[in-house]
């Protein structure tokens, strides 16, 4: 029974690690999409309108004169940018703290700090996406065929993932 339990706990441990890695990678990709649009081939926009693509940091035209202009310095846009940056910072911090706690926590202890930071990162992404949804007409005139882009959807996807991984960290107990 001891060996089975050990195997079971080892499997569970690796499942937690896989979950953690996938959550971090997905969030990183979301924020990479949300923050900078470098390659035009991958759709990385928050708002799409024909051949104009606008994201948090610049508006680009993929038409014949390809040009990118910096976004306006509206306060609401700046707060959305701040929320995205904060969520990246918190998720990176939670990853770092996870490894710290892995080596310093006593047996049977819980990864509270890691889970708290992960949940905070999820909340930041949610508030950023919510503010964007409500206030995007302040700095971007919406026309009829303006639709939400890939990065916007990814931002909303990151919320349940972050919350789930945070809760998992809080429930998780350290084994030897």
């Amino acid at each position: 029974m001891g060996f089975g339990s050990l195997g079971g706990s080892a499997v569970r441990g690796s499942w937690w690690d896989a979950w953690l890695c996938s959550a971090v990678v997905l969030r990183a990709s979301t924020l990479g999409c949300g923050t900078r649009s470098r390659a035009v081939s991958v759709p990385q926009q928050w708002l799409v309108n024909g051949e104009h693509a606008a994201d948090l940091w610049q508006n680009c035209t993929t038409g014949s004169p390809f040009q990118c202009l910096a976004s306006s310095s509206n306060e609401w846009l700046q707060s959305v940018q701040a929320m995205m940056i904060l969520s990246v910072i918190f998720s990176v911090l939670s990853l770092f703290l996870f490894f710290c706690q892995l080596f310093t926590l006593t047996k049977g202890g819980r990864f509270y700090i890691t889970g708290v930071f992960q949940i905070l990162a999820g909340l930041c992404v949610m508030s950023g996406a919510a503010i964007f949804t409500v206030r995007h007409t302040d700095w971007h005139q919406a026309s009829e065929n303006t639709s939400y882009g890939f990065a916007y959807i990814l931002a909303w996807l990151a919320l349940p993932l972050a919350l789930a991984s945070g809760i998992v960290y809080v429930i998780l107990r350290k084994r030897e």
Binding site: S73, Q78, A82, I85, I113
Partner: protein, 275 residues
Amino acid sequence: MSPRATRRLLLVAGLVAALGVSPVSPIHVYTQREVYGTVGSSVTLSCSFWSSEWISEDISITWHFQAEGSRDSISIFHFAKGQPYIDDVGTFKERMEWAGNPRRRDGSIVIHGLEPSDNGTFTCDVKNPPDIVGKSSQVTLYVLEKVPPRYGVVLGSVIGGALLLVAALVALAYGSRYCWRRRQAALQRRLSAMEKGKLQRSGKDGSKRSRQVSAERGGGHGGLSPLSPRPPGSPGAAGEAPLSPQAPVLYAMLDHGRSAKKAKGGAGDSRKDRK
């Protein structure tokens, strides 16, 4: 005349001739490049000049205004013969004020109650006869609905505030946990010191009492002490009168703590076995 005197006279004559023939340097006019103002506020358009000639009574200062998108430049202010002439029929009627002093080489004007139509270029022109050659200087006025905050103020303040808040909360949590642990450790130390002191004292009294005390303590360690906290008036407590009010309380705590830990430990062991 002596040769030295002649030479001196020639030198002076040459200097005077040179002064008389040298050209007068042009007049220099200085203004700001851009001025920002919000709607309804007042703004000062400063104009200073430098002239190599003495400031005479014939000095004239002129301000022209060219609206944004317009090609006409209208004259809005004129200063001549020591008298300022302010626009009283045009767009700056009753909004302009002369705030300059030609003696101090200042030709500034103040515009009150800015309107969005005041966006444009203002030109300051100074003529100080005979010093009339010179370039005039231009100021661009921007009238804004409200002054926009510099980019990055909101961004930086939100990020900084959130990080500080989180850092403060984490520090508070860890600090309170550290204090609590330290207080627990101090309490443990006091308890063990008190136990040691009791053992020594009861050892001095007699072996019987020491056995009694150790039996009590043994019962206390087991968590099922048949002897409840000793009453203060008992014979064994003769030498511990000052401590007696505390002793029963500490005993109770010790018993409770030990028994509680034993219970939790037992349950945990059983859980571990099941695993």
